[in-house]
């Protein structure tokens, strides 16, 4: 074998090794979650720890059912996440379309102003938002969880970047064919932007599904709890039911895994055009 070929083979081997190590490190905690969800509570603190999944999943799930209304919190999470995603998609795509395809006064400053707010930590807003929600009597409601974050600066950024790719000629010819200005938005921009919309939808959905601190403050009755709060409820008790936490955890991430696995092509495309073509 030539020296160069040998080096090339070594390089390939090293690349695969690196990839396998990274993948293994990523999968260990997920594997361990499965193990933990399928063994009885009493084996939890045994030494050596269990390394192979058990058969106790259904029992743990039943115990979980007795402790928290898990199905209810899944439903709550779905309502909040879907509602938030839909609303935010409409707001961000409309505004993104205007920023990408029209000229108007104060366009640039307005846009950069929105971008600047990306550095604000969400936690900063919790206290004043709570005061506001109390004033309008919206505490413990889903609308109070959905509305404040629907105007998403990252969303508007991605939408504007992606919609710049819509050819002006396409819009012009639609105009000549008699399309109204609003039809340009929902009959041309939206359909051509489906991949980016899907990408943004994934980001928004995952974010809302995982939101913790703010819903914790706003949603106060157990029947309104979303998944992360229901989970924290299990961890926050005197005795921590780790087996149940792991069952709930494994169930709560299934929707996200599915969304992610099926839509990741779009996710990647959306990120691609969003971050690259400045």
């Amino acid at each position: 074998m030539r020296q160069a070929d040998k080096r090339e083979a070594l390089w390939k081997f090293g690349s695969y090794l690196f990839l396998l190590v990274i993948t293994a490190l990523v999968l260990i905690p997920i594997y361990w979650m499965v193990v933990a969800a399928t063994i009885p509570q009493q084996e939890f603190f045994s030494w050596p720890p269990r390394l192979i999944p058990g058969t106790h999943y259904l029992e743990n799930f039943q115990a979980l059912q007795e402790n928290v209304s898990f199905a209810r919190s899944i439903l709550n999470s779905l309502i909040v996440s879907v509602g938030y995603t839909a609303l935010s998609l409409v707001l961000c795509s409309m505004a993104g379309f205007a920023f990408a395809k029209y000229e108007f006064r104060f366009k640039e400053p307005l846009f950069y102003f929105i971008l600047a707010t990306l550095v604000l930590p969400i936690q900063l807003l919790i206290i004043p938002l709570f005061l506001l929600m109390t004033q309008i009597g919206w505490t413990n409601s889903f609308i109070a969880v959905i509305l404040p974050w629907a105007a998403n600066p990252l969303g508007i950024f991605l939408m504007r970047q992606n919609m710049k790719a819509i050819p002006d000629a396409l819009l012009e010819s639609a105009r000549m064919d008699g399309a109204t200005e609003f039809q340009l938005y929902y009959k041309i921009a939206l359909p051509t932007m489906l991949p980016s919309l899907a990408a943004l939808a994934i980001i928004l959905f995952i974010n809302q599904w995982q939101a913790f601190l703010y819903p914790l403050v706003i949603l106060q009755e157990e029947e309104m709890f979303t998944i992360p709060i229901a989970l924290a409820q299990l961890v926050g008790q005197q005795r921590v039911y780790f087996d149940q936490v792991m069952v709930a955890t494994s169930l709560s991430i299934i929707p996200l895994f599915l969304v992610f696995i099926f839509l990741q092509q779009y996710f990647i495309k959306g990120i691609l055009s969003g971050s690259v073509k400045q």
């Binding site: 030494w47 307005l110 105007a151 936490v245 990647i268």
Partner: protein, 319 residues
């Protein structure tokens, strides 16, 4: 697009609205919510930071049953000017501790995550790698695990006494590591957890960036006799610069907002070694009930993150 369309476009002015004020109609729903729920609360936080929170009535303002926290109604706000800022900058050692912890996590986290993310993306971009989609999906899966969910997993994995990591270490003949009971190891545990969670996210963005680099650039470099390293140094890096900048800035913002991980995994301990700035804000606001002071800390945090982002954009930008 057909030639006919392209032909028609000639001489037509560029995307000027035919209805005046229309763009404002499109952006107004966004701005209404943006103003009410983002700008107003931000301004209110700034306002609160100049006041001290004095006394309380019996009526509850905010109750979080889960954390057994009740914040009483604000009875009186007393204007104290810059006192809060003076206190946190010059007198508050716990604030300094939280600033130190956050800075440590930032300094280790961002380079680690960017370099690992870039390495993974480069390998996955190589032509000879098979099953790219599978690897990419697996590595990106942690992005889809909830903050509370993954924090709980790490809490157990890294447990000093019964955690699997220490068991494996001991089985291999190494000694157990005090992951959660030693200050430095606890900080490192947080870094590991956050890296695990966000590596895939950065990898995807960087991979997307790599795929936009025109193949011809590499071919041209090869003709000039460039080796692997030279191609990386003179083609990949400069072309990837805007995407790298995006990853660095968003990782920086993310690191300064870390909350759920120390909240669940370390509880800020041992002896405040992992308390982050946002956690300190949370403590001041919801446990110690110093709304004004918490607001002042928030303002400092925002100022810090803004300055860093601006510096990164200024020195990392292409224009």
């Amino acid at each position: 697009m057909s030639d006919q369309l392209r032909y028609r476009r000639q001489g037509v002015s560029d995307a000027v609205p035919e209805v005046p004020g229309l763009p404002y109609l499109y952006i107004s729903p966004f701005f209404v919510l943006f103003g009410i729920f983002l700008l107003f609360p931000t301004a209110y936080t700034l306002y609160l930071s100049f006041f001290s929170y004095q006394g309380a009535s019996n009526e509850a303002l905010l109750t979080i049953p889960l954390l057994k926290v009740t914040i009483p109604q604000i009875a009186q706000l007393e204007f104290i000017g810059l006192d809060h800022y003076q206190r946190l900058l010059f007198e508050d050692s716990l604030f300094r501790q939280s600033l130190f912890n956050t800075s440590f996590i930032f300094l280790v986290q961002v380079p680690l995550m960017v370099i690992l993310g870039l390495a993974t993306a480069l390998v996955l971009d190589a032509k000879f790698i098979r099953a790219k989609g599978l690897f990419r999906t697996l590595i990106a899966l942690p992005v889809a695990t909830g903050l509370v969910a993954y924090s709980t997993i790490f809490l157990l994995l890294f447990n000093d006494d019964i955690g699997m990591i220490n068991y494996v270490l001991q089985s291999l003949g190494a000694s157990a590591i005090p992951w959660l009971s030693d200050s430095w190891w606890a900080r490192i545990t947080l870094v590991i957890a956050v890296t695990w969670r966000w590596l895939g996210y950065n990898m995807i963005i960087l991979l997307a960036g790599l795929q936009t680099i025109p193949e011809q650039l590499y071919e041209a470099a090869e003709i000039d006799g460039a080796k692997r390293w030279e191609k990386f140094r003179y083609v990949t890096l400069p072309q990837l610069r805007p995407v790298l900048l995006f990853v660095v800035v968003s990782s920086t913002i993310g690191t300064f907002q870390i909350f759920a991980e120390p909240f669940v995994i370390t509880g800020g301990g041992p002896s405040n070694a992992t308390i982050t700035m946002v956690q300190y804000i949370y403590r001041q606001a919801f446990i110690q009930l110093n709304l004004g002071y918490a607001s002042a800390v928030s303002v400092v945090l925002v100022a810090l993150v803004s300055v860093m982002s601006i510096v990164q954009i200024k020195y990392g930008g292409t224009e």
